[in-house]
Amino acid sequence: MKKKLISGMLCVTMVLASMVGCGKTVKVNTEKTNTSSGVFNEFGWEVPEDTLVINILDAGGYDAPTEAEKKGRENVLKYFKDKFNVELKIQYTSGDGTEAVNLALASNQYPDIVTGITYDVMKKFVSMGKAVEMTPYMDTIGKDIKDTMGEVYPLFLDSEAKLWYTPTLMGSITELPDKAAQIRYDEWLAIGSPEIKTPDDYYNALNEILKKNPTTPNGEKRYALSFYTDSGHWSDPAAFCGFWGLKNGYDINEAGDFTYWAFTEEGKEMTKYFNRFYLDGTLDPDSFVNKYEQWKTKFSNERIAGVIGEWWISYDSGHEVWQALDPDTPENKRYIHVSFKDEDAEGAYLSGKNSLGSRYTIITDKAKNPEALMKFINFQATERGLALTAWGIPNGTPIGNTGREGKFWNIDAEGKWEVDPAAKQALITETWSYDDEYYWTGAPWLFTTQSRWKDGVHCMWPNQMWYEENKWKSLMIENMEGTIYDSSAMRLMEKTDEVKIAEQAVKDAWTMNWGAAVQANTEEEFEAAWTALQNALTTAGIDKLEKAMSENYKINMEKMNK
C-alpha cells in the first residue's frame, strides 16, 4: 500500500511538473489610451494623459548587451516614462532577428510594433493583413515622416500607392564614403608620399611600405592586404569592382541592363589584381579564413599596411586602439583614405548610397491605437525626436558608478537645444569616449534618417559633423570626392521566390569560387578558377538575378522621373 501511495504521488508530481510552463502566453497591451492632453514637453511631444504603452519587437539581432548598454536602455526607458508618459516595452532579438520575427509571426506572438525587419518579412505581415496601412496618416500625424522621405516617398508605396512601413534607418550623408582604400599614413609619408591614382599606384605604394618595414616591431611578418569573411562583414568583390568603374558589382549599360561583375572584364581585372598580391606573398594567406575579430587583431598588431573596406575599420582597429593603449602615439600613426580608379574606368564608384534603407518598421494588427503609435514614430522624424533617438538623453546622465556624467546635447524647458560644446570638441579632436555613450543611448529606432538636417550641419551620427574642423575627416572627404553615388534605384526590394533563391545561390557560388581565383598559383590555374566561378554562377541562376535587377532599376528610374 505504501509503495502504491509513493508511486502514485510520484506520478502526480511528475505529470504536474511536466505541465509547468504549458499554456503561457505573451500578453500584449492593447488598451486604447487618451493621447491628447494639450500639454507639450520641451521635445514638442504632446504628453498623453494616460500612459501610452508601446510594445516593440526589435529584430536588429543584437549581441548580449554589456552592462553599459543595459544601463543605457534602462535610463532611456525611464526618461521616456518620466518626460513623455510613454512606457516602452522592448523585446530585443539576438542572433538572426529575422528568424525570431518569423517565429513570432508563426506563433502569432508579435507586439504592436515590429522594427528592424527585412523587406521580405514586412511583406509577409502585409500580405497576411497583419500590418496597419500608414498612408492615411501621412498628411496629418505622419507628415514629418513624409517630409523626411522627400523625393523617394513614392518608392516606398506599393502598386496601389499605399504605404505599409517606414524605413528603420533611411537617408545618407552624401559626402561620407562607405567604402575606401586605406593606407598607413606615417609609412606612406616615409616612402615619399607617392601619388596614388590607379590600382597599380596603390599596389606599388603598399609594396614599397612592406619593403621598408617587412616586419612589425615584434618581428611578425607584415602584409600589404588582408580580408575577413564573417557573415555581416565581408571583403566583398562586388565592392572592390568599384575601383574598376562598376556600381554595386554590376555593369549597367545605357539601356539599364545589368551584367554581374564576374562576367565583365573589370571583374576579372579586379580578381587578377588581388591575385598579384597573393603571388607576391603580400596578401595575408589567411585572408579567406580570418573572421573579423581575427583580422582586427592582425590589424591592431600593425601587420597590415593597407585595407579596402568600410571607412571606419582603420579607425576602429587602428589608431583608436593604439591611442587607447598609448596616449603618446604620434598623430600621423594612422590610416588615411585614398581613392583611385583603373585608367579605363569612367570613375571609382565605391560607395553606393541607398537612401531607402534596408530595414523597416511596421505597426501590426495587434495595435488597438495605431494613431498613437504613428504619432510616436512621427516624433522620431522631428529634429528633437531624432536627436533624442540617436544622440541619446540630453543634459547629462551618470556614467555607471564613475561619478561622472556624460551627454552629447542640451535642451532647455523651451525646447531650445544645442550640441554640448565639450562633446563637440571631443569629437573634433577624436578624444570622444564611445564607451560612455552607451549610458545615455538605447532608444528604439522606428524611423530615423542619416541625412543632414535642414540646417545642413547636424545629422544623427555625432561623429559625422563639423568635418571642416577635423583635419583627418576633411582629408577623407576631400580624397574620396567623386567615389560616392546614389544607388537607391538599384535596390531590389520586390523579389520573387525564384529570385530570392537565385540570390542566395549566387552568393554561395562566388563565396565558394572567388577565393580560388584570387589564390591561383599560375595563369592556367587562374583561368580554370575563373571559368569555374562563371559556371557556378550560371548554374546558380545569375541570369534571373540580372534580369530582376535590370527590370527593377528601370521601373525605379521611371518612378523617380530620372
Partner: protein
C-alpha cells in the same frame, strides 16, 4: 483464431496489471513524448505546402512533393550529398572505431589512478564549445599556426601548408576534430560494457595461455559486441547528419565546396531565407532515409552478427 486473440489480450491485460506500478511511473514520460515528440509532427505537413509563417498550414497552398523535387534536382544536390556522405562515412568508420580502441587501451592500463586521470582528461574536449574548439584549431592549423611553424622550423616544408584554406584537407580535419572532441565521452559506454566482462572467462583464457591481445580478441570484443552493434545501427540512422555548427565554425569561403552539407544548406535556405517548407522537406527526407537505413542495418546485423537493436 478468435480464441487466440482473446488469449493474447488476456495475457497483455494480465501483464499490464502485474506491471501497473511501472506503467504508472511511465505516464509522465509517455505524456511528455506524446506532447513534445508526436504532436509537433503535424508540422511535417509544412513540407507539402508553400508555408508562410503566421498562416495556418491548412490555409497554405498545397504543393505535394514540389519541395522534395526542388531539393533533389537542385544543382547543388550532388555536391551536398557527396560532402554529407563522405564526412558521415569517415565518422562511421574512423570516428566510430576510435573510441572503441581508446576504451580497450584504457582498459589495458595497469594503474588505476593513471587510468582515471587519462579517462577524465579525455572527457574534457567534449565540454569545450565548438566556438572555442574552432579558435584552437585556427591557432594550430592556420597558415601562421603552430603546426606550420613547427614544420617550417624543422625545414620539412618551405611554405605553409594551407590546411584551412585548401578544401582537400577539410574532411580529415573535420574527422580528427570530431574524434578529439568526442573520443573520451564516447568511450564511456564501451568502458562500462567492458566492466561487465566475465572475469572467470578471462581467468580461463589466461590458464589456456591467452595473451592480452588474445583476451581482447576472444573475450572482451565478443562481450561488448552487442553494444558496438547497437551504437553502429543507431549511427547509421544519422548517416545524413554530417555535423552543422562545426562547419559554420571550421569552414570558410575557400573550403565551402567541401563542407557544405545538407544541414548547412537547409539552414541557409530554410531558416535564413525563411523558406520553412524547404527546410522541413529536407529534414523529413533525411529522417525517412535514416529510419529506413536503421531497419535495414538492424536486419543485416540480426542475420549476420546474431545481435540487433530491436
Amino acid at each position: 483464431m478468435v480464441l487466440e486473440i482473446k488469449k493474447k489480450i488476456k495475457y497483455t491485460v494480465r501483464r499490464f496489471n502485474k506491471q501497473r506500478q511501472l506503467w504508472l511511473l511511465c505516464i509522465p514520460i509517455i505524456i511528455w513524448v506524446v506532447i513534445f515528440a508526436y504532436v509537433p509532427m503535424y508540422g511535417l505537413l509544412i513540407a507539402f505546402v508553400d508555408y508562410i509563417p503566421g498562416m495556418s498550414i491548412f490555409d497554405c497552398k498545397f504543393v505535394g512533393l514540389k519541395h522534395f523535387k526542388d531539393f533533389v534536382f537542385n544543382p547543388s544536390f550532388l555536391l551536398l550529398l557527396r560532402n554529407t556522405l563522405a564526412m558521415s562515412l569517415l565518422s562511421l568508420t574512423v570516428g566510430f572505431v576510435a573510441p572503441i580502441i581508446f576504451a580497450l587501451s584504457i582498459n589495458e592500463l595497469p594503474h588505476k589512478r593513471y587510468k582515471k586521470v587519462i579517462q577524465t582528461t579525455s572527457y574534457l574536449p567534449h565540454f569545450i564549445s565548438w566556438v572555442v574548439a574552432g579558435s584552437m584549431i585556427y591557432m594550430m592549423l592556420s597558415n601562421e599556426g603552430i603546426v606550420n611553424d613547427i614544420l617550417m622550423r624543422l625545414n620539412l616544408i618551405v611554405k605553409p601548408v594551407p590546411f584551412l584554406t585548401n578544401g582537400k584537407y577539410y574532411w580529415v580535419i573535420y574527422t580528427l576534430a570530431n574524434i578529439w572532441k568526442g573520443i573520451g565521452w564516447s568511450a564511456i559506454i564501451y568502458l562500462s560494457a567492458i566492466s561487465g566482462v566475465d572475469m572467470e572467462l578471462c581467468e580461463a583464457g589466461a590458464m589456456d595461455g591467452m595473451g592480452r591481445w588474445g583476451m581482447v580478441r576472444h573475450v572482451i570484443i565478443p562481450t561488448i559486441l552487442p553494444t558496438i552493434v547497437i551504437l553502429w545501427i543507431l549511427g547509421i540512422g544519422g548517416i545524413l547528419n554530417a555535423g552543422f555548427e562545426q562547419h559554420l565554425i571550421l569552414g570558410n569561403a575557400s573550403t565551402q565546396n567541401y563542407w557544405d552539407v545538407i544541414d548547412t544548406y537547409s539552414y541557409r535556405y530554410g531558416i535564413q531565407l525563411g523558406y520553412y517548407s524547404i527546410g522541413t522537406a529536407v529534414g523529413l527526407m533525411k529522417s525517412l532515409i535514416g529510419f529506413t537505413l536503421v531497419f535495414i542495418t538492424n536486419r543485416f546485423c540480426r542475420k549476420h552478427l546474431g545481435t540487433s537493436a530491436f
